[in-house]
């Protein structure tokens, strides 16, 4: 009989915090003998898309030190890519961040095309950019639903739930089930966008702008989100962050509310761009896609939903000898300890939720 772990009598160890590694303020013998408590959030939690364990060392409701445990979703995608064929690596690239498969695959395919010294013509570029923009909008909108659920703001949650449904409808009409498969090297197709879909996308963009306007004046929401989790733009640039978080810090205050509004703005802009630039791929044209790369090195950056996803490939003609991914969520993950120290518990969780971390991407 198998001795499953579930039937063992061992007690799972308590979450341990390495006291020496953390910059805890010194405990002294004062009149008030307080005890710091360790709160463990995760690994499964509503704040991030993916497993992350956050260990908060709290003095009551105030967080004194933070330790993150990431790596639950580490699959070693980069290493797997070096052992796979060129074609299989495309699937691995889209699996880097399961929430943004198009961005990953597009980065890889663009890198391949650069190695092949093939410049795609503008219509292909437009199509790919439109797909990318659409995926960004999908991510922002599903983040909005998660954030509203976390904040327990039912009005926002109900409004936000419409968007993914309608986006999925439009997307299903536009490019069928798997938009990812359309991205292959050196292939481009032409077809005009149907008028109804175009109008639907623009309508959605207008609704997002209206929602953004309402949220900006919402005082109850501002109580929970304004002035919380301020991040300086220089600090973000120093760690290599990008995307809506960086833009919010550059153009606005850089607090939770500005990140929320910035994501809505960018989603609206992306939707309008997609409405203008999208073309519907037709089924017949596929072409023969060369999945190979002559020797060389190249690097490509693609604007994903959480920031710039960068890939640098080195090929020796036959195989991929080196590949590195630059992942936006990983940069933000490193900022968490300094960002959360000194916050209240509720604020800290709001901040983590506002960063929109995708742990699959962060762990790589």
């Amino acid at each position: 009989m198998l001795a499953l772990p579930l039937q063992s009598d061992e007690v799972p160890p308590e979450p341990r915090v390495e006291e020496k590694a953390l910059p805890l303020p010194g405990k002294q013998e004062r009149e008030i003998a307080t005890e710091l408590m360790v709160m463990s959030l995760g690994p499964v939690q509503p704040l991030t898309a993916g497993p992350l364990r956050l260990l908060f060392v709290c003095d009551g409701e105030q967080i004194v030190a933070v330790q993150t445990e990431a790596g639950y979703a580490a699959r070693g995608v980069a290493r797997a890519m070096t052992h796979a064929t060129w074609r299989e690596s495309a699937a691995l690239a889209s699996a880097l961040d399961p929430l943004a498969p198009i961005a990953g695959r597009l980065a890889y395919v663009s890198a391949l095309e650069q190695l092949q010294h093939w410049d795609p013509d503008p219509s292909t570029l437009h199509q790919r950019e439109a797909l990318l923009a659409f995926e960004r909008v999908e991510n922002h909108v599903s983040w909005l639903v998660r954030f509203a659920e976390f904040l327990a703001d039912d009005r926002l949650s109900i409004t936000a739930r419409h968007f993914p449904v309608r986006l999925a409808e439009v997307g299903a009409v536009l490019w069928g089930q798997s938009a990812v498969e359309w991205i292959v090297p050196q292939s481009g197709v032409l077809s005009p966008l149907p008028h109804t879909q175009k109008r639907m996308l623009e309508h959605l963009a207008a609704e997002l702008v209206a929602l953004r306007g309402r949220l900006e004046g919402n005082r109850a929401l501002a109580l929970r989100t304004a002035g919380i989790g301020l991040l300086a733009a220089d600090r973000l640039r120093a760690v290599g962050a990008s995307g809506p978080v960086l833009h919010a810090s550059e153009r606005r205050q850089g607090d939770v509310l500005s990140r929320l509004l910035m994501r809505l703005e960018e989603a609206a802009d992306d939707l309008r761009y997609a409405a203008r630039a999208a073309v519907m791929p037709s089924v017949a044209e596929q072409g023969i896609a060369p999945w190979s790369a002559p020797p060389g090195e190249t690097a490509v950056t693609v604007a994903g939903p959480r920031g710039d996803i960068g890939v640098s490939l080195a090929s020796d003609g036959e195989n991929m000898c080196r590949v590195t991914w630059r992942r936006p969520s990983a940069a933000l993950l490193g900022l968490i300890p300094e960002l959360l120290t000194g916050q209240k518990l509720a604020d800290a969780e709001t901040i983590v939720a506002s960063l929109d971390l995708a742990m699959a991407e962060a762990d790589g």
Binding site: M39, C58, L151, A152, L223, L345, A346, E349
Partner: protein
């Protein structure tokens, strides 16, 4: 009816009312389209909870852990006795009816705090202190808000307060008092947007974090029943209790309670959850002065219009 019969009746009615409140909660969350789902969901959750394993966390304070839901239910059952359902229909009618109601709900908060403390977990402890913060937030404004109807009816007895509203319901000329009472009712039962001791950012429930199975079910019943009781008392204090033309008293009472509960549940969901210090600010900087103003206003109105009373 002998006391045992009354007790049994009270307990059964509370269970049914708790179920009703759970249904209302689902209805306001899902919308009227999903009526059947809303009615059946609490039943499904009840069955699921009953089938769950009963866990006691390691190092828990066993006496407090096991007794907390029972203390909560006992205090609610005792409080339910003073609500007049009809002209002659009430458990018992002490001369200090309303005061008794507020006082006997004190052990309910104790039970919630015991629940959080006895779990031996950080989430529970945070929930305990947040529940204490909730308590000191709503207690004084609640007291001042209910003084309005007491002053107008010149009695603490709930039956007398209902009878005094034959001419005009109190909500018409004490709207501020009613508003404060409604907010305090949301505080007491940890409903949105004040549910920070119970759900909130702590995962899986704060005060109720380590409770599973039947004990968790008892707590949910207790919280729902308490919400029903508070809405019922709100109807008694501000909406004329069981009075109404045509239908018998208890029916009107039920209709009014359901309407008020729906309004409170629906309205409370539209604000994001408040943080504990924002809740304290709200209570001490806004609610308390408002309730003092309310007392002054009601007093002035009573003096100026002696004909308003009943």
């Amino acid at each position: 009816m002998n006391t045992f019969g009354v007790a049994l009746l009270v307990v059964w009615s509370l269970l049914i009312c708790a179920y009703g409140i759970a249904v209302l909660e689902r209805l306001t969350a899902l919308g009227l389209r999903h009526f059947r789902a809303a009615v059946l969901l609490p039943l499904a959750e009840t069955v699921a909870l009953l089938r769950q394993e009963n866990l006691v966390p390691r190092g828990a304070d066993r006496l407090l852990f096991h007794s907390a839901p029972l203390v909560a239910l006992t205090s609610i059952a005792l409080a339910a006795l003073v609500i007049p359902l009809g002209p002659a229909l009430r458990g018992f009618d002490p001369s200090i009816g309303l005061f008794y109601f507020i006082v006997v709900l004190g052990p309910f908060v104790i039970a919630m705090m015991n629940a959080g403390w006895s779990q031996n977990s950080p989430e529970g402890l945070s929930g305990t202190f947040r529940a204490a913060a909730c308590l000191i937030s709503y207690e004084v404004p609640l007291g001042f808000a209910v003084i309005g109807p007491v002053m107008a009816a010149e009695s603490l007895s709930t039956a007398r307060i209902v009878e005094a509203q034959t001419g005009l319901w109190y909500v018409v000329w004490q709207p501020l008092g009613f508003l404060i009472y409604a907010i305090a009712a949301l505080f007491m039962t940890y409903r949105r947007p004040f549910d920070l001791p119970q759900a909130g950012s702590e995962l899986a429930g704060g005060v109720l974090a380590e409770y599973t199975g039947a004990r968790l079910l008892l707590f949910h019943i207790a919280l729902n029943a308490l919400f029903f009781l508070l809405t019922a008392m709100g109807v008694v204090l501000f909406f004329g209790g069981w009075q109404g033309p045509g239908l018998p008293g208890p029916i009107w009472f039920l209709v009014k309670t359901v309407a008020l509960a729906t309004v409170l549940l629906w309205g409370g969901r539209f604000l994001p959850r408040v943080r504990h210090d924002q809740m304290l600010s709200l209570a001490w900087k806004i609610l308390l002065p408002a309730s003092l103003v309310n007392v002054a206003l009601v007093g002035i109105l009573i003096l100026v219009f002696p004909g308003e009373k009943s």
